[in-house]
């Protein structure tokens, strides 16, 4: 009996371990080794820290790096601020019959690929786009304005792209919030601000963190949206990695950048969990 149970366990765990090992661990080990190598003058591969030194010595690299980190945090916060009222409305305000329909509406844009959605935004916002056309026709603008290729539009695009991943975990935690807790706080003299900060946010914390982690990682590693909407004015660190691998064909440098990004995202998430006193195991449930 015991051996049979361990056999089924083995049967289930093997694909997972193989998948993790072959597709995640092995390539990463290879990349890690690659990042510590460089070509010497004769073209042979030698051990070196030069890839990491380049990062610190070249301002454009670490400035893009910091910019990416700060904007990713900002996007995560804005996404949370936009998603909380949406999730609250869906779970607590509308009738349950209607809330499923509203969730479906949220999901709809995700049936088309991110690329198509981003081109949608570009059609709306570009100089000869829909929005400019209407503003011109209504007389609010004399000449068209380029609304793409700046940080504000890029942040908006990133928030739009990642909103669903914040709303879904928030809906599931808010569904478990007893309405009478909100009513009790209201009855005891609480206003909207104290009800949100003392009751709703503490209750929703696991959902906020799990949504926050997903949104943060997706944003940090996003390539399409910053590249297309942000353009050349809004550099994103993933573009640096892409350039090293594809444009400069310097795989060693690209691998080092990739690892720096991994360290960055891990440490910011660790810090976030520490600050909110959450455990990763709680959050991923």
């Amino acid at each position: 009996m015991r051996s049979r149970r361990s056999l089924t366990f083995l049967l289930f765990i093997t694909p997972v371990v193989l998948w993790l090992f072959l597709l995640i661990v092995l390539p990463h080990v290879d990349l890690l080794l690659m990042s510590f190598h460089t070509e010497d003058d004769s073209g042979a591969m030698v051990w070196s820290l030069v890839n990491y030194l380049n990062f610190f010595q070249e301002p454009v690299y670490w400035r893009t790096f910091m910019r990416t980190a700060i904007y990713a945090i900002l996007v995560t916060m804005i996404t949370f601020a936009v998603s909380l009222p949406v999730a609250f409305y869906i779970t607590k305000v509308v009738s349950p019959r209607f809330s499923g329909f509203l969730s479906l509406l949220l999901l709809m844009p995700f049936w088309v690929s991110e690329l198509v959605r981003v081109y949608g935004w570009m059609i709306l916002l570009r100089e000869s786009g829909v929005l400019n056309h209407f503003l011109m026709v209504s007389g609010l603008l004399q000449r068209p304005v380029e609304m793409l290729y700046n940080d504000v539009t890029m942040v908006m695009g990133l928030v739009y792209t990642s909103m669903l991943f914040m709303v879904v975990p928030l809906i599931s935690v808010l569904e478990s919030l007893d309405d009478s807790l909100i009513e009790a706080a209201y009855d005891l003299g609480g206003g909207i601000f104290s009800i949100v900060t003392r009751i709703i946010i503490p209750h929703a914390m696991p959902g906020i963190m799990s949504g926050g982690i997903v949104v943060f990682m997706l944003t940090l590693g996003n390539y399409l949206t910053p590249n297309l909407i942000g353009g050349k004015n809004s550099l994103w660190f993933t573009e640096q990695i892409y350039n090293q691998f594809i444009a400069s064909f310097n795989w060693n440098q690209g691998a080092a950048f990739g690892f720096l990004l991994l360290v960055l995202s891990s440490s910011i998430i660790w810090l976030g969990l520490k600050l909110t006193r959450q455990k990763l195991s709680q959050v991923v449930q």
Partner: protein, 361 residues
């Protein structure tokens, strides 16, 4: 006496459905007032209107003489204890109690003092640091009461807070609540579907049915002198018959029941002969093996159908030989009736004065 709560002609409709119909009552300061009714009678709607979660369609709610129309729940001097208490699980006991005080921007020292005070008062000194999930059912109850009382409300509203407790604890909390209310002197409005809770704790009870108040009275009067057939049936147990008035003299009438028995009964309404009536007799008013000399007494012989043993609340079901309506009769557990068995024939009877009758509508 000062009036703490005045409800004037309040109605509430939801679409076509009328939840509360023209309800009016006043509660004096320091009273324990209960609203008793079956589920769906509109008592929760009424309570939520007093708390401010729902606005009445018609009518006025005055608290300490001030019209509450347009005041949201967080600006009314009333607090509500929820059915499932709604303690905040993300806070400890002291933080729960301090929540309302913090909203009033009281100083930290003042808040700490009041929290310690009220915890001692509800019998939980030193419990401030405990998490909510560390408390037992009865302790949670007391924290919920403390959380409201610390704000010193004009009226404390309680929405069946004992419903979730087990029987033993419920009995104990009934007594405690009554004591606590007498001690703090706050006006309590208590809603429940459990008549024993209402009768034991209250100074006055309103019996509510179909959105209306059927009768507002002291618990003793509700039991002894119900004014409508619904109250007679709902408060305590009762045996009921339908019949017509056959004859009438000296405050007593002779009734012919639908199953063709003749009884005499006291009447408090003006019931001329020929009126269809419904009348009630309490199980404990029926005497087993009565003395022969009693006057104005209804006598009959009945066959015991079954014996329902329930300790002090034991009953037997018996079928009168002349009738077709089964009677429920109290069976005192004083060993006098231990010999009774199913199938026995017993003499039973009741005094005409202990029956109540109403016009049948």
């Amino acid at each position: 006496m000062a009036i703490d709560l005045n409800v004037e002609n309040v109605s509430k409709t939801f679409g076509d459905f009328t939840a509360v119909r023209e309800v009016s009552f006043a509660v004096e300061k320091g009273r324990f007032f209960s609203i008793l009714g079956p589920s769906g009678c509109g008592k929760t709607t009424l309570l939520r209107m007093i708390a401010g979660f729902i606005e009445p369609t018609v009518g006025r709610i005055m608290i300490r003489g001030k019209d509450m129309a347009g005041f949201p729940p967080n600006r009314r001097p009333v607090n509500l204890i929820f059915q499932h208490l709604a303690l905040f699980p993300m806070m400890n006991v002291a933080q729960n109690i301090a929540f309302g005080l913090q909203r009033r921007r009281e100083t930290r020292a003042e808040i700490d003092r009041k929290v310690d005070d009220i915890l001692a008062r509800v019998g939980l000194p030193g419990f401030g640091g405990k998490r909510i999930d560390q408390l037992s059912g009865g302790q949670k109850q007391r924290v919920a009461i403390a959380r409201c009382l610390v704000l010193d409300p004009a009226v404390l509203l309680l929405d069946e807070p004992l419903g979730a407790l087990d029987l033993k604890l419920r009995e104990q909390m009934k007594v405690e609540l009554k004591k606590l209310q007498a001690e703090v002197g706050t006006t309590f409005i208590y809603i429940t579907h459990d008549q024993s809770e209402a009768l034991v704790m209250s100074d006055h009870v309103a019996v509510m049915n179909g959105g209306r108040f059927e009768q507002v009275d002291t618990p003793r009067n509700l039991y002894a002198r119900p004014q409508t057939p619904f109250v007679a049936r709902f408060v305590g147990e009762n045996n009921g018959w339908k019949g017509v008035v056959a004859d009438r003299q000296d405050g007593l009438c002779t009734l012919r029941t639908d199953d063709d028995q003749l009884f005499s009964a006291a009447t408090h309404d003006d019931l001329p002969p020929g009126t269809p009536v419904i009348f009630f007799i309490r199980p404990e008013a029926i005497i087993i093996a009565p003395d022969a000399g009693l006057e104005n007494f209804n006598r009959m012989t009945a066959v015991i159908q079954s014996i329902l043993f329930d300790g002090a609340n034991s009953r037997m079901l018996a079928m009168p030989e002349a009738g077709a309506t089964e009677l429920m009769i109290a069976l005192p557990q004083n060993r006098q009736y231990d010999h009774l068995k199913v199938g026995d024939r017993v003499a039973i009877g009741w005094s005409a004065r202990s029956a109540v009758c109403f016009k049948d509508r």
